[in-house]
């Protein structure tokens, strides 16, 4: 299947493979899946329309190497739509990690998805990030994580203290 042929399936393996490719190409240091899809690793499935890949940039300048990331993926057939890169009709955001999100990338859980090695934010970091953002949907995510995910309360407490975050 061509890289931008729309797929009824969610092309997550392609997304993760591409993120590994960015490391191999020397464009980023590390990465992990964050956002709603990371939450779904721990809770019931729900509708989400994009994937968030948080990356630790190699280039610590203002652009965080994003132009090079776009150029690399566009050369592989990815398309650009607004703030997203799109693969098989599925939008992906590549977000430079700093502070709490950088820690979340470094401490992310290693998984394998359809044979592709990947990293996904730990449940405690997902909750801490949602608490730091604090929109209505973040509060709903916290509630869902508290109900369904197997959280390490000590780890969560340490993250919240380290980054001076209060739970809503």
């Amino acid at each position: 299947m061509a890289i931008n042929e729309p797929s009824p399936n969610l092309p997550l393996a392609d997304v993760l493979r591409a993120a590994n490719g960015l490391v191999a190409a020397g464009l980023i240091e590390d990465w992990a899946l964050g956002g709603a899809l990371a939450a779904i690793y721990y809770v019931e499935p729900f509708t989400t329309y994009d994937a968030d890949i948080f990356f630790i940039p190699k280039d610590r300048g203002l652009t965080a190497g994003i132009p090079q990331i776009y150029a690399h993926l566009q050369a592989q057939g990815w398309q650009v739509e607004h703030e997203h890169l799109v693969i098989r009709g599925f939008p992906v955001q590549f977000l430079a990690a700093t502070g709490l999100t950088e820690e979340a990338v470094r401490e992310a859980e290693r998984i394998e998805y359809e044979g592709v090695p990947a990293k996904v934010f730990r449940a405690e970091h997902i909750v801490a990030i949602a608490a730091s953002v604090g929109r209505a949907k973040d509060k709903a995510r916290i509630e869902q994580m508290l109900q369904q995910a197997d959280l390490d309360k000590m780890r969560l407490e340490k993250i919240l203290q380290r980054h001076n975050i209060k739970m809503p």
């Binding site: 009824p8 899809l37 779904i40 690793y41 019931e44 499935p45 729900f46 329309y49 359809e114 369904q148």
Partner: protein, 45 residues
Amino acid sequence: MKLEMRRKLASEPFVEKIRKVAHLIQLAKTFPRRASRPPASRTAR
């Protein structure tokens, strides 16, 4: 949905959950939510 059922869904393999997310996206595209209509205005007679 009952919490017990939601926890059961949460414990499914990630690959299976992602397959369900794709299905939910397809359903949302097939049956988009309609904006709720404002209530009909009442006119005094």
